[in-house]
């Protein structure tokens, strides 16, 4: 008679704390929560704009609150972290071949940074 009795290990709900790699992954994915909230606040601002100047100014006023400033600071940190991790992963999702050779990873990554800087500078110039 077979004595086989394969043992299935449970996945702990803390699996993402077991390895620093997993924790960083969760931070990267968790950044979406802050970016979603930021987008909703921004969307709310557009809605307030449609209600007239007073409403929009009230929204602008509410953004001066220390908690709003702290939230936006955290959201910015997460957005930067997300961007950097995403740029470093970008070569895995791009299959570019030039003259029979795959494009070097560092060229793809630096291309993303250059585009990021150009867009950021353009946005700043438009705003200021």
């Amino acid at each position: 008679m077979s004595k086989r009795k394969p043992y299935q290990r449970e996945v702990s709900s803390k699996w993402w704390l077991a390895q620093a790699f997993y924790s960083k992954y969760m931070l990267r994915e968790g950044s979406s929560i802050f970016i979603t909230l930021y987008s909703l606040i921004l969307g709310w601002g557009v809605f307030r704009l449609s209600q007239g100047e007073a409403a929009f100014n009230a929204w602008m006023e509410s953004l001066q609150h220390p908690s709003a400033i702290i939230f936006h600071f955290i959201a910015l940190l997460f957005a930067i972290y997300h961007s950097f991790t995403w740029f470093s992963l970008a070569p895995k999702a791009m299959d570019i071949w030039l003259k029979g050779k795959p494009l070097e990873d560092k060229l793809i990554v630096s291309g993303h940074y250059i585009a990021f800087i150009i867009v950021s500078v353009f946005c700043l110039v438009v705003i200021l």
């Binding site: 043992y7 996945v11 993402w16 077991a18 992963l89 070569p91 895995k92 999702a93 071949w97 050779k101």
Partner: protein
């Protein structure tokens, strides 16, 4: 120097005598050129002959000796005691697979998945006759898939994948990398058949790009890249399907 030892804790499971695994500590003579696999062989030969583990080639080709070393999926033959000495090393059967016994896991699900993705060249219908000679392939065409053909089916990437841990229906890293290997081969015409597997929720879309599979791979295969590139193909397939349903 000659008397140095290292402690190795092994998570043991003997189905005929216990209901769940429990750790057992061993102390083996230390030498910087010893691998984890050799330490296990020492334990089996000199300390406890009942210990079970899988191995064959001792040179990272057969893919048999995968196990968790301090919680990280590794090949026993390619991991040296010197990288852990003087600390204790914790060994456990490869994560995310059921434990058959001690360090041996049940790999049936993984093997089935490898078979599911049609891991063979599917030629075009108007295939040429054997007498026409072999299919020609340039080095450039070979380079398109070669990396993905280096997989030794050790299963480390499955042990590293949290998505597979949470839902074993996910096709998983090695099988999808192997699928990419055939889809990218210029001699193959089976992409259309394989895209059905790729497009499923359990196909590439089960992957959330954790990326640890590519880190632990002992052969430099990049399953995470294979899957992300297949996601691009799957999206294209979806868009084309909207305009050109077949």
């Amino acid at each position: 120097m000659a008397n140095k030892t290292i402690k190795i804790e092994i998570l043991r499971y003997r189905p005929e005598q216990e209901d769940k695994p429990s750790p057992q500590l061993f102390e083996v003579p230390y030498s910087p050129d010893l691998t984890i696999l050799e330490a296990l062989q020492y334990i089996k030969d000199h300390l406890d002959s009942t210990i079970s583990f899988r191995w064959s080639c001792r040179m990272a080709i057969c893919g048999s000796c995968g196990l968790m070393v301090d919680g990280v999926p590794k090949l026993g033959c390619k991991t040296f005691l010197r990288d852990y000495f003087p600390n204790k090393i914790k060994l456990e059967a490869l994560a995310n697979f059921p434990i058959e016994r001690d360090l041996v896991v049940v790999m049936d699900d993984f093997i089935n998945k490898l078979e599911e993705i049609k891991p063979y060249i599917i030629p075009e219908d108007n295939t040429k006759c054997l007498s026409d000679g072999p299919h020609q392939q340039t080095p450039e065409k070979l380079a398109k898939y070669k990396q993905y053909s280096m997989c030794i089916n050790c299963g480390l990437c499955y042990a590293a994948c949290p998505q597979y841990a949470l839902d074993t229906k996910f096709t998983g890293p090695a099988a999808l990398a192997l699928l990419a290997r055939y889809n990218r081969d210029s001699r193959d015409a089976g992409s259309k058949q394989r895209m059905k597997i790729v497009n499923q929720e359990e196909g590439v879309w089960g992957c959330t790009f954790v990326g640890y599979c590519s880190v632990v791979c002992p052969k430099g295969v990049d399953p995470a890249a294979a899957i992300q590139l297949l996601k691009v193909e799957s999206s294209k397939d979806y868009l084309i399907g909207m305009f050109k349903p077949d």
